[in-house]
């Protein structure tokens, strides 16, 4: 089948990278670098058998979580998919708690019972990584429904992969969110593939953001997901719309995953080429911000080195902490099936 590479991060959405406000840039650089190095460490831990099961790395997509979650309020809500480590970190779950969860230990953010795909944290309103493609999209609409029901001005951000736009739950949730004007940002992280299936081989629509056209009052926006400033700016408007007008938006953030779909998938191979990967890596969201800052004079090479060292220490600390954390005791098996209730 002839395929047009329309949903391509290097096409019309590509923006020229510039540095911005120094403090914000540093924060964002730190946030993205932490995710990058954390995920690399996760890959190592997986190879050593410290982490089991399915494990999906976020490397390459860091600008999306940093650009969006970084501007939320503490009382806003975040929900997403199994590819959730980066989002969990940006939302403020500690690297220790995320790593301990990956290791299946008691100090994990889900007490070792969730694992890689199910990071949860009540304190940061992180409503989970969810493992059934598309199923969490209605949950996000439900969170928006609850916000509106209570007359609050929070927003709910729902991250999802590109393959979600083809599943029924997505459409049902978008329809009701538009119909009832729910304050939800539906964020498609279009990393070009759902496992090994390229977007154009699965979605009968050229721009995924056009899925919003079917729902009155819902804006569909295309965002360059390799540039954290673009992500932040475009999202700011959608957040404001949700907060002040209680209107949902559909954001298609064009990004790219550098690693395989999960740990068992080769980095490149049958469904994508090494050349393509190399090309995307040349737009790297972390290093391009760093370079822009160096050019703008808002960061020196020495400062970068210090940042790297700091992040490396944080990630190592997370590993050490996770490694030392006990496994959940056998008694935990029967805990948390139901809550005690007084009816």
């Amino acid at each position: 089948m002839a395929s047009k590479k329309k949903s391509d991060a290097k096409s019309e959405t590509r923006t020229v990278r510039t540095a911005g406000d120094k403090t914000l840039d540093r924060e964002m650089l730190h946030s993205m670098l932490l995710q990058r190095r954390f995920e690399e460490k996760t890959g190592e831990a997986y190879a050593l058998g410290k982490i089991g099961g399915f494990c999906h790395l976020y490397i390459g997509q860091e600008a999306v979580s940093t650009g969006i979650i970084g501007q939320l309020r503490p009382d806003d809500y975040v929900i997403g998919t199994y590819r959730d480590h980066g989002q969990a970190l940006v939302r403020g779950i500690t690297p220790r708690a995320v790593m301990a969860e990956l290791f299946g230990r008691i100090d994990g953010c889900s007490r070792g019972k969730g694992g890689s795909m199910h990071m949860f944290d009540r304190h940061t309103n992180f409503l989970g990584g969810h493992g059934i493609v598309g199923s969490h999209v209605p949950l996000a609409a439900g969170v928006g429904f609850a916000i509106k029901y209570r007359g609050g001005d929070q927003v709910c951000v729902c991250f999802m992969g590109d393959s979600v736009v083809n599943i029924g739950a997505f459409h049902e949730a978008l329809n009701m969110s538009a119909l009832w004007k729910l304050p939800v940002l539906f964020v498609i992280e279009n990393n070009r593939y759902g496992m090994g299936t390229a977007v154009e081989r699965a979605a009968a629509v050229d721009d995924l953001s056009k899925r919003a056209d079917g729902y009155t009052g819902m804006d569909g926006i295309v965002i360059d997901g390799m540039d954290v400033h673009s992500v932040r700016e475009a999202t700011a408007k959608a957040i404001a719309r949700a907060r002040t007008e209680s209107r949902p938006s559909l954001l298609e953030v064009r990004t790219y995953r550098y690693r395989g779909h999960s740990m068992s998938d080769a980095v490149s191979g049958t469904y994508r080429s090494k050349d393509e990967l190399d090309e995307y890596q040349s737009y790297d969201p972390v290093f391009s911000l760093r370079d822009a800052m160096v050019v703008a004079g808002t960061m020196t090479v020495a400062e970068w080195d210090a940042l790297e060292a700091d992040v490396a220490a944080t990630v190592q600390d997370a590993w050490d902490f996770a490694d030392a954390s006990p496994e959940p005791p056998p008694a935990a098996l029967y805990e948390d099936v139901l809550v005690d209730t007084t009816s």
């Binding site: 070792g112 409503l127 999209v137 609409a141 969170v143 609850a146 329809n175 805990e335 139901l338 005690d340």
Partner: protein
């Protein structure tokens, strides 16, 4: 004591719980303007307004998920499925979202939600609209399943379900909505997880629930004329099951028949028989028998449908067999 219908009893439960707690809302197809496909939510829109009585599009998967999401952050939704046949489109949200959330979040996010609607066969609705899903749902750890057979039980159990902090499935009976029974004026709640000995006999136990309770009561009436006296154990809650109530009755009668509306294979009765053989083996005077729907999709033709369904005659035959009478 006032005598009201099963439908009115459910309606009262909804009204009382919505008045008691403004986090409780009801969502589903036709629940508002239309007053409910089976009129269970009659008058609620008028009383509580459209924020709390929400007419949804025909999108079971979507609105079940909206319910779960809203429950994760503090609301207490009652999600009405027009019938449980259509809830199959939403089963992912019941099984993968609601039932799993507390566990996979390490105890952080409970989901206080009720999924309710009519379950089981009515009359000549054909294969896709005549199914009893007790065993599908009761199979899942992380949810509770109740199946009331009388107006009194319907009201008390629905109220308890709404107050419960866990996901609760309420299986109503389409054929039960018009049935009548005594329901007191005063407030009451029936605790989940407790069976009710609906009738005391001593010769044989019938373990059952939901619509089949009415069949079991008929059977008990009829057999009493033949001097066979039946203990009718109404499970009320299928998960968690009140096994002690089953054991107590079976140890007394030493014979049991399990009567259920659904299919045989992997049915509720199979589980009950397993509990009985494990804990009451030495007390049994006969193998435990089961009465259930024929192992076929429900036929439309009246005569075929009748023979496919579990009924009083089949149950009487089973009781006589375990009593070695014929």
């Amino acid at each position: 004591m006032p005598i009201i219908t099963y439908r009115e009893a459910l309606n009262q439960a909804l009204r009382e719980e919505m008045s008691r707690d403004d986090r409780v809302y009801i969502m589903g197809e036709e629940v508002g303007v239309y007053n409910g496909a089976y009129k269970v939510s009659k008058g609620l829109l008028e009383e509580f307004g459209e924020n709390r009585v929400v007419d949804s599009p025909i999108a079971e998967l979507g609105f079940a998920g909206i319910g779960v999401g809203s429950a994760m952050v503090g609301l207490r939704p009652v999600i009405e499925f027009m019938t449980w046949n259509f809830a199959l489109l939403a089963i992912d949200q019941v099984v993968n979202s609601a039932a799993k959330m507390l566990y996979m979040s390490g105890g952080q996010f409970n989901v206080p939600i009720v999924f309710r609607g009519p379950n089981g066969a009515a009359l000549q609705l054909g294969a896709q609209h005549s199914q009893a899903f007790e065993s599908w749902l009761a199979h899942i750890p992380g949810i509770k399943v109740v199946s009331p057979g009388t107006p009194y039980d319907a009201k008390g159990l629905l109220k308890a379900a709404i107050r419960d902090d866990n996901p609760v499935v309420v299986l109503e009976g389409e054929m039960l909505y018009n049935t009548k029974g005594e329901v007191p004026d005063h407030e009451y709640v029936i605790p989940l997880g407790k069976a009710d000995l609906k009738r005391e006999g001593g010769d044989c136990t019938i373990v059952t629930s939901g619509k089949m309770v009415l069949v079991a009561m008929q059977v008990a009436d009829q057999l009493a004329k033949e001097d066979i006296h039946i203990d009718v154990v109404d499970l009320l809650t299928i998960r968690p099951m009140d096994v002690e109530a089953i054991y107590a009755s079976v140890r007394k009668t030493q014979r049991a028949v399990v009567l259920e509306e659904g299919w045989e294979i992997c049915g509720i009765g199979a589980q009950v028989v397993d509990f009985i053989q494990r804990e009451c083996f030495d007390h049994l005077d006969a193998p435990v028998l089961r009465v259930h729907q024929a192992d076929v999709p429900m036929p439309y033709a009246k005569g075929l449908e009748k023979i496919a369904k579990p009924d009083a005659a089949k149950t009487i035959a089973a009781v006589k067999q375990v009593m070695y009478r014929s």
